[in-house]
Structures are given as C-alpha cells and as structure tokens.
Symmetry: C2
Subunit: 147 residues, 2 copies
Amino acid sequence: MDQRIKEAVDLFTDVMVYGTEKVIKSIDHPLWNEYSPEQMQMLKLIRKEERVTSSRLAVLQSVHKSAISSRIKKLLQKELIRIADSDDKRTKMLEITDAGREVLKQSEKALTEYIEKLMSAHIEDEEIDQFLIIFRKLKKILKMDGV
Amino acid sequence: MDQRIKEAVDLFTDVMVYGTEKVIKSIDHPLWNEYSPEQMQMLKLIRKEERVTSSRLAVLQSVHKSAISSRIKKLLQKELIRIADSDDKRTKMLEITDAGREVLKQSEKALTEYIEKLMSAHIEDEEIDQFLIIFRKLKKILKMDGV
DNA sequence: TTTATTAGTTGAGGGGGTGGACTATTTTGG
DNA sequence: CCAAAATAGTCCACCCCCTCAACTAATAAA
C-alpha cells in the first residue's frame, strides 16, 4: 500500500503538475498563442453558463475577483464576449459572442486532433476505456471542495 | 470511437489543465506558499541530477534560459541550492543543499498525505492499480518529444 | 589567433495571481 | 424611510511566470 501511494504521488506530480504544460506547448496552435489557457477556460465557462457574472466566474475559476476583472477586459477587447443587460446595476452579465463560439470550436478541434493522434499512436483500444474510467473518477474527486 | 475521444478531450482539459491548479491550492501547505511549483520542480531536478547546469535545466523544464536564470537566483538566495566548481568557467554547476533536501522532503510529505487522504476516501483498492497503470502510461507518452 | 559558438545575465513587455482601497449600487434593519 | 452594511467590480501596487533580444565572458574551431 505505502509503496503504491508513493508511486501515485510521483506520477501525479509528473503527469498532472508538470506534464500538462508540456502538452499545452506541444499543441502549438495559433489560437493557444493568442489566448491564454485561463482565457480559454473562462470563455468555455461563459458559453456553458450562458449568462454569468464576474463574481460567479471568480468562484468557478477559484481566483480573486480582480484577476477575473482583467481577464474579462481582455475577452471583451477581443470581442469574444459581450455585456448583456442586468437588473442589478452593480453586476455585469456576460455572454459569449459568435466570434467566441468560433474560437472555442477551433481550439477544441485542435485539441481533439492532438489527443486522438496521441491515443491512436500509444494507447490500445481497451486502454482508452480505462483512461475514461479513471479520468471520470478523477474529475469527480477534484470537483469536491472539502476533499 | 469518436464519442470516446470527445469525452477524453473534455476530461483531459477538465482534469489536467484546470484540475491541477485546484489540487495545488487545496494542499495549502506553507511551503507551497513560499516556493513556487516551478521552483520546487527545479529543486527536485537538481536533486535528481546531482550536478546540473542552467542550460540543462532549461531543457528539462522546457523554458527559456532566462526563466531558469531568475529561478536559480531565487533558489540560491533561499540557500536551497549552491554553485559547485566547474571546469568550464562559462557554466554554473548547481547542486542541492541540505536545506533544499529538507524542503523537498517536507513538500513530498505533505503531497503524499494529501493524495493518500484523497485516494482512501474516494478510490477503491483495485482502482488504485488502474490509476497507476494509466498514469504510468501517460507519463511515458508525455515524455515523448515528437509525439 | 581570429572568428564562431556556447553559457548565462539582464531588461523590456506581457501573461498569471493576491490583497487592499475605492466607487457604485443594492439590501437591511432600526 | 433612511442610514448603515453588504455586494459587485475596478484599479493599483507588488509578486511569479514566460519570451525574446541584446550583451558579456569563456571556450571551441578554422
């Protein structure tokens, strides 16, 4: 048991913490050069939520509201999102624009092609199912707040 | 097939790209506040390599040498590493100090405890083995340069 | 020995983040 | 009903990370 946990920790840090950046760099798509991963994640969240406020995004991305504020400014400038009307004049309701949807679509296409290439080259068919099972589980676990 | 790849892409981005930061934040150990993940990774690499130059670290961490340069300055200042002698006077041979080893030890302890808690709470015994298998595979794949 | 090449530093410029101060707009509650 | 408290966002200083290009110093090559 002890030994397995130790290996799990090593694998976790290698694969998750340090491997992720390597993948992002490998994709090397012009979009990933123009928009940061954080901006992309935010755009994806805005598409998913349809209409969302700055403070909700801060909760979803687990960062300070000031970080969100500057991010919004950048996405607005690039016209990937727009401000919708809101009852509460303190808040800014955000929604994705058509340009934003297109950017997400392109980025997802690139990522899909990359992972597909990766998998078909190195992972057997039955391993893909295992991958899915483990990652579904991981997602579920990581979503939990209190651990 | 298509459907599984799509799910794999979603899971990949959710778990790897965005889940990782959540985990790092969750650990909430004073060490992770004092030293950045990049500094920790570098320290780990220096311990592993025993004696290593700046340019080799740049290759290992896949960043520009100037990024490494400032990182080294910080680790030196914190006395977690030291400069060893070198034949080539252009290079700086680096090695870890006792203080550096201690920091790594503490950080690994915290991470181990965290992951152990996470796993024992949410993952069955036989799933741990599956986790190990998939992550070993992922590590191997991600280590490949040309994809 | 003169000319490349290599190692590392530095500085500008642009990402990411926090926390606190500040404005504007609700809400609350005496 | 109106003053006090809470909420939503922005802005600022300050930190980390990164790249790229200019620069110095030292070694390798011609």
